[in-house]
């Protein structure tokens, strides 16, 4: 069976995946997209399995996306939200997870502000761990849903040029996308101020630009990142006004990309900061399609991971 090429017990990062595994996830997700247009959207694939959403950071879209995905696969779902401050003062992450594991879940979906936390969980947890975003490290399901959206648009994931614009330094979405598109052999340009786009990212197979117009030229995909003021980006550039002046994507700068180019954004948007609002709402934008695809991707990931846990239980 084709699913045999998926070798992972966990989904921690795009880095861990082979190009074949990425293709497989997308292929399965595509079939879930197809059935999600039907009236009855539920499958029994994860019936009797328990998925825990363990979120230590505020998140609406990713958490609800995993929740819907798990429910459409007939899994039981527990939402566990906690603040990082309670982790620092009170129960440790290990104790929290061991407590949850005592209830025998099959998959734990974790979002955490500290990079590497999902990797840490795998050193003692028995469940399959899915990384729903760890610090500045990776956000693999985001890159996969982006890839699915790109594939739907261009009928391929190869031979494309993607420009990623904004706070690369603090972006897990950027890292997962860079790694994914490098694996697919695509051309990657990273655009932003030098303080947020260290030259060392070129060692990941990308090219760094400090000039928006130069960087987006001939792109197939223009991916904007949220300016994350809450991450302390404030010291990295003088003002939103100056940032907008240099790096906002608008009708004019977007026109330098290919005619067929699409505009992406992982959300939530800062309208008229990194992205001109009329462009965000234009037919170039695939932002809402990304959200829809998120469910299919997460269904595919949960679906592929569930088998591993079975072996352990039996």
């Amino acid at each position: 069976m084709k699913e045999n090429i998926f070798k992972q017990k966990h989904l921690l990062s795009i880095e861990d995946l082979s190009a074949e595994e990425i293709d497989l996830i997308l292929e399965i997700a595509e079939s879930f997209v197809e059935v999600s247009t039907r009236n009855i959207k539920k499958f029994p694939a994860l019936k009797g399995k328990t998925v825990v959403n363990l979120f230590f950071e505020n998140s609406t879209r990713t958490r609800s996306s995993f929740e819907i995905a798990a429910k459409r696969l007939s899994a039981d779902l527990i939402n566990f939200s906690a603040s990082i401050s309670s982790l620092k003062k009170g129960e440790s992450l290990r104790d929290t997870v061991l407590t949850l594991e005592a209830m025998n879940p099959h998959i734990i979906v974790i979002r955490h502000s500290a990079s590497g936390s999902p990797n840490y969980l795998t050193t003692f947890a028995r469940s399959s761990i899915v990384n729903a975003g760890d610090g500045f490290h990776e956000h693999p399901t985001q890159a996969l849903l982006d890839a699915l959206t790109i594939k739907q648009k261009f009928n391929t994931l190869r031979g494309l040029k993607i420009s990623i614009i904004g706070d690369i330094l603090h972006s897990r979405v950027a890292r997962s996308n860079i790694i994914l598109h490098h694996k697919m052999g695509n051309e990657i340009s990273l655009i932003g101020p030098p303080s947020l786009v260290p030259k060392e990212f070129e060692q990941m197979g990308a090219k760094v630009y400090y000039n928006l117009k130069e960087g987006v030229k001939n792109s197939d995909i223009v991916m904007m990142l949220r300016v994350q003021e809450e991450r302390g980006s404030g010291n990295y550039f003088p003002s939103i006004r100056e940032y907008r002046k240099l790096f906002e994507i608008n009708q004019e700068t977007f026109s330098l990309a290919k005619k067929s180019a699409i505009l992406m954004h992982p959300g939530p948007l800062n309208r008229d900061v990194e992205i001109e609002t009329s462009l965000a709402d234009s037919d170039k934008s695939v932002i809402l399609q990304q959200v829809t695809n998120g469910i299919a991707i997460r269904m595919a990931v949960l679906y592929l991971l569930k088998g591993e846990r079975n072996e352990i239980i039996n």
Binding site: S92, A114, G116, Q203
Partner: protein
């Protein structure tokens, strides 16, 4: 109490000795060193044939955690760990609770170390009150109470004016200022070495420059002041360059490095294993090789463990939330001997300089770091042929946060003798 050590190869760089000798110890002191001292059934004798006898090792930079953090380590467990690692003297840093910024704490540490009675403990007192970097401590009083140097280790003295004043003030006391070089506004919340790896793995970085700007600042101040400046746990090639040039210009500066910075690099953090989280961070291979060069050419004067015990629970965390630090007292000699002496990167005499002769000089411990009649009998006896495998179950420290667990090699401590008393014997 007499003790006779027969037929050991005595290597003492301070006296230029490298030969087989018998050493007689009487009443805590070296009584006689000669090629033949007759055995006497009434004198306890150690047969040191095939072993190397070294002046007792000195680790001039450890954290004993007492008073205040006895869950991590105590003066007693730290002393046992020191003896296990061949150290006859250790100097402990001031970041206890309360901070060692007053004579009462200094005297407590010394009194407690005498009660424990395993190794010599020399307190390093704080440069500034409560390590706050604002007002200097009562340095004369602290030295009178037994402090052998000053350091705000764990924090860098960020005020250039304060480091200037403390260097000036200690000129009349003849003790070193030990700087933890880290420009905190650059290092910030950094977790690991800043560079490709920190970017890729999404961890906040600490630039080499965080260390180097302080190394440069202190050297510039010291050029004029001519006090005693010692730079701790050097980790970057840029610092090595700065210190090497300062020494060429005859500026009075000394420096040390740790076994983990000498033997490990940043690539280990890619699994987010918190045992590799240290400050300064493990750097690149290029930095590591520059440190080795510094060991060879005399830029680095001593090897310290920066023994930093933490409980298992404290280290068992998300990378970002775990504390910095590794333990090292019980592994320093073996890993350095195996990886640097056996592979002929440095010779054994140089190792002894780094572990004993030089730290004694830097801390101005006039009667230590040397084997001579009349001096306290602090000796470390080495078995260079014995294989080892580092096993955390053998640690006498309370902590197990060692990056060297599982390492195999050759060269172990056979005996540790402090003031004529055997405080450790390999079993």
């Amino acid at each position: 109490m007499k003790l006779l050590i027969k037929n050991g190869r005595l290597i003492d760089p301070a006296t230029g000795t490298d030969n087989t000798y018998d050493i007689l110890i009487d009443n805590k002191k070296i009584k006689e060193i000669s090629s033949l001292i007759k055995k006497n059934p009434s004198i306890k004798t150690i047969d040191a044939a095939g072993f190397v006898v070294s002046p007792g090792f000195i680790d001039m930079h450890v954290h004993l955690r007492e008073p205040g953090f006895e869950n991590k380590e105590t003066i007693e467990t730290g002393s046992k760990a020191a003896a296990h690692g061949g150290f006859t003297s250790i100097a402990c840093m001031a970041n206890t609770s309360p901070v060692n910024d007053n004579r009462t704490v200094t005297e407590y540490i010394i009194a407690r170390s005498k009660e424990v009675g395993i190794v010599n403990i020399f307190p390093i007192a704080a440069i500034s009150m409560n390590l706050e970097g604002k007002n200097i401590t009562q340095m004369d009083d602290l030295v009178e109470g037994g402090a052998v140097g000053f350091s705000d280790d764990g924090r860098c003295v960020m005020s250039a004016d304060l480091i200037r004043k403390s260097l000036e003030y200690t000129k009349m006391l003849d003790v070193p200022i030990i700087e933890h070089p880290e420009e905190h506004s650059i290092s910030g919340d950094g977790q690991v070495n800043e560079g490709f790896i920190s970017y890729k793995y999404g961890l906040r970085g600490i630039l080499n420059a965080a260390e180097e700007v302080i190394v440069a600042r202190d050297i510039i101040l010291q050029e004029r002041i001519k006090s005693k400046l010692h730079l701790a746990h050097i980790s970057t090639f840029g610092s090595i360059d700065l210190i090497r040039n300062a020494k060429k210009k005859k500026i009075k500066v000394t420096a040390d490095a740790t076994p983990h910075h000498l033997l490990l690099n940043e690539e280990l953090i890619t699994t987010y294993n918190t045992v590799y989280k240290v400050k300064p961070p493990l750097r690149t291979e290029q930095d590591r090789l520059a440190l080795i060069k510094g060991l060879q050419d005399g830029t680095i004067d001593s090897i310290i463990s920066d023994h930093a015990p933490h409980t298992r629970d404290e280290k068992d965390k998300e990378f970002e939330f775990a504390p910095f630090g590794v333990i090292g007292l019980e592994t320093s000699f073996s890993v350095i001997y195996d990886r640097l002496v056996r592979s002929k990167i440095i010779n054994l005499k140089r190792l002894i300089e780094l572990f004993s002769t030089n730290p004694a000089k830097i801390l101005n411990l006039k009667t230590r770091g040397m084997v001579k009649p009349g001096l306290p009998a602090d000796l470390t006896i080495l078995n260079l042929n014995k294989r080892f495998e580092i096993d955390e179950n053998n640690f006498l420290s309370k902590a197990n946060n060692s990056p060297f667990i599982g390492w195999k090699g050759q060269g172990v401590i056979e005996y540790t003798i402090v003031n004529g008393k055997v405080v450790y014997k390999r079993s």
